[in-house]
Symmetry: C2
Subunit: 220 residues, 2 copies
């Protein structure tokens, strides 16, 4: 009986401990996500090289030692920030497009989602565009991670284009990688016109350019 009580007591304690642990983990994950949200914003504005634990501590009003507990080093913070941005991008741009109808509608949804992402999701524009220019000459893990992420993105564009061929929306002789390259060019020109030149016509220009790529993709 004392054993039983003790066991039950033990169970009770361990359930309690598990709940506490779960709370700590959830709380920790939430804090971590909140820090990384802030880090993504910082990078979108000033680039990866100016993202430091010290600066992020100021921004989040956390202690440097608290941040070190989460990220260990500047390099790890940079990698985690890129990964966090990639996940946000999947949530905000990729997932909604995968709910759209296969074929050209999905291609369009992806494009419109990207415009929205580049215009309104982050103060400093698309973190991947900024990072591409910043990191192209900086070999290392961060560059490798960015190359993987950018390659995935171009492959996704090519894949949705191939599905549009299969649906009969695009011409059967479409070069899907070439299509992805051209759509990506339109996105980069949009980012430049809107972010640097503050060109009010950037959205209209981008949609017109995208439509021209679609017309060619449909063939005659």
């Amino acid at each position: 009986m004392s054993q039983e009580i003790s066991d039950r007591g033990c169970d009770f304690k361990s359930t309690n401990e598990r709940a506490t642990l779960r709370y700590v983990i959830t709380k920790g994950a939430e804090t971590r996500a909140a820090i990384l949200d802030e880090a993504v914003l910082v990078v979108s504005r000033v680039g990866f090289s100016d993202l430091t634990i010290g600066q992020l501590a100021e921004q989040t009003q956390m202690s440097k030692s608290g941040l070190f507990a989460h990220f260990k080093s500047k390099e790890q913070l940079q990698l985690d920030t890129l990964e966090h941005a990639r996940r946000r991008f999947v949530d905000l741009v990729v997932r909604p497009a995968l709910s759209a109808e296969r074929g050209e509608p999905r291609v369009r949804t992806l494009f419109e989602g990207w415009l929205e992402w580049a215009s309104n999701s982050l103060d400093g524009g698309c973190i991947f565009v900024a990072a591409s220019a910043e990191l192209d000459d900086r070999p290392g893990e961060l560059r490798d991670a960015l190359v993987r992420s950018e390659t995935d993105w171009l492959e996704l564009l090519a894949t949705v284009a191939r599905a549009a061929v299969a649906e009969g929306h695009f011409s059967s002789d479409l070069d899907a990688e070439q299509f992805a390259f051209q759509v990506h060019g339109v996105m980069l020109a949009y980012h430049h016109a809107r972010r640097l030149l503050r060109d009010e016509a950037a959205g209209m220009r981008a949609r017109t350019a995208f439509d021209a790529v679609l017309v060619a993709a449909r063939g005659t």
Copy 2:
């Protein structure tokens, strides 16, 4: 007579002084140009925020005080570096295109010149592409100067397209600004594919995309 000699003496001295002054100015200008060549290389690799007088002193093996005599401040060095890059761009890309035949040949020469510039002129790729991503969120004189330079470039692309309309090479209802936007997109996609992704097919992709823009510009 003594007046005459004195005058001649004076003339002789002043000619000598002028020659010395010219030598000093030429020498000074040459040194300045050599420093700015180096500065443009540094910026193409690491961006404007990492271009400092201290770092440039190391790179050029000059003294910091010697460099300060040329540029006064980091801000002035940045502005002069951008202006120097702009002049090199005019020499290497714009001027040769203006010798090409008016119309579509000139548009093509400009495009090929740009590919060459972005691929081989600087270790770190096109300084304007890198600066556009770096400076879009950094208000100030340097950003303003870049916006002027980028606007000039897009206007030049539109102007050569308009000349191609006048020559009957492009359709009379061509929107020249839209054409410039799309060609610029192809250039940015090329830079990304070549510099970040090290994609061997980048040049082929860019030329195919450019040809598609030309086909549309010619109309039917």
